[in-house]
């Protein structure tokens, strides 16, 4: 890493593009996990536990597969952006799909 001032400058176009890729993965998987939770009739804490396990598994897989185990190259704050930033956004999508499929199946 060079010590000149230019090494810290980031390209905003790529930051936005990478963030969109991450959201695409997390949005689509959360909705399908919600459908799965409703189909197997999960209730209360089991459903939320299922979401947390699946969400963090997908995030970990993303950081190892798509980011090639070097997420700091693609995200400004990798731990926060990949694992926590969109947690509640995905939770709402998950709960929606979960309750929807639970009501249809049950």
């Amino acid at each position: 890493m060079s010590s000149d001032g230019y090494s810290d400058i980031n390209f905003s176009g790529n930051i936005i593009k990478n963030k969109k890729s991450l959201l695409y993965v997390q949005d689509s998987t959360s909705l399908v996990f919600g459908l799965g939770a409703g189909i197997i009739q999960l209730e209360s804490l089991n459903g939320f536990g299922f979401f947390l396990i699946c969400y963090f598994s997908v995030s970990f897989l993303y950081s190892t597969w798509i980011c090639q185990s070097n997420p700091s190259k693609y995200y400004l704050n990798p731990l926060y952006e990949i694992y926590f930033e969109s947690l509640f956004r995905e939770l709402t999508g998950y709960v929606m799909a979960w309750t929807f499929s639970y009501a249809i199946v049950g």
Binding site: I9, N14, I39, I40, C54, I66, K73, V105
Partner: protein, 137 residues
Amino acid sequence: MGSLSKGLIVVSLLQLFHAGFSSSEFQQLLKTQQLHKYLNEAGLPLDIKLEVFMGLIIFVIGIFLSFEKLQFQPIELTRPTVITGEYLSDIRYRKATNVENLTGSNLEGQIIYTSNLTDVHQKRKECRDWMNENTAK
């Protein structure tokens, strides 16, 4: 998105739909046959659960396979296609511009290659013609 990932996503959604239908039928059976007290504790049959889990795993694999390594076609067709070997774009500015340099694209092109506001040669010609006409008189 490649055909493999599309195929996997379709298969997984079909699996989920089938598992959902099976689960729904099972719930209907419990209601109509009054079997709640016997089967409630056992829950759903294992094959339905496994089908759901397999569908979810295949869906995730399909989504991840939809990412392809980035490649760029240079502006000059004689130069080879640039393949970065990465799924995402590097955010550091000095690395982000590598691809543009390799493909022959200029990031500052909008500033450098502005069209001329005034055609100097045309103006000079008009001026020369005017002077020639006036001096001839």
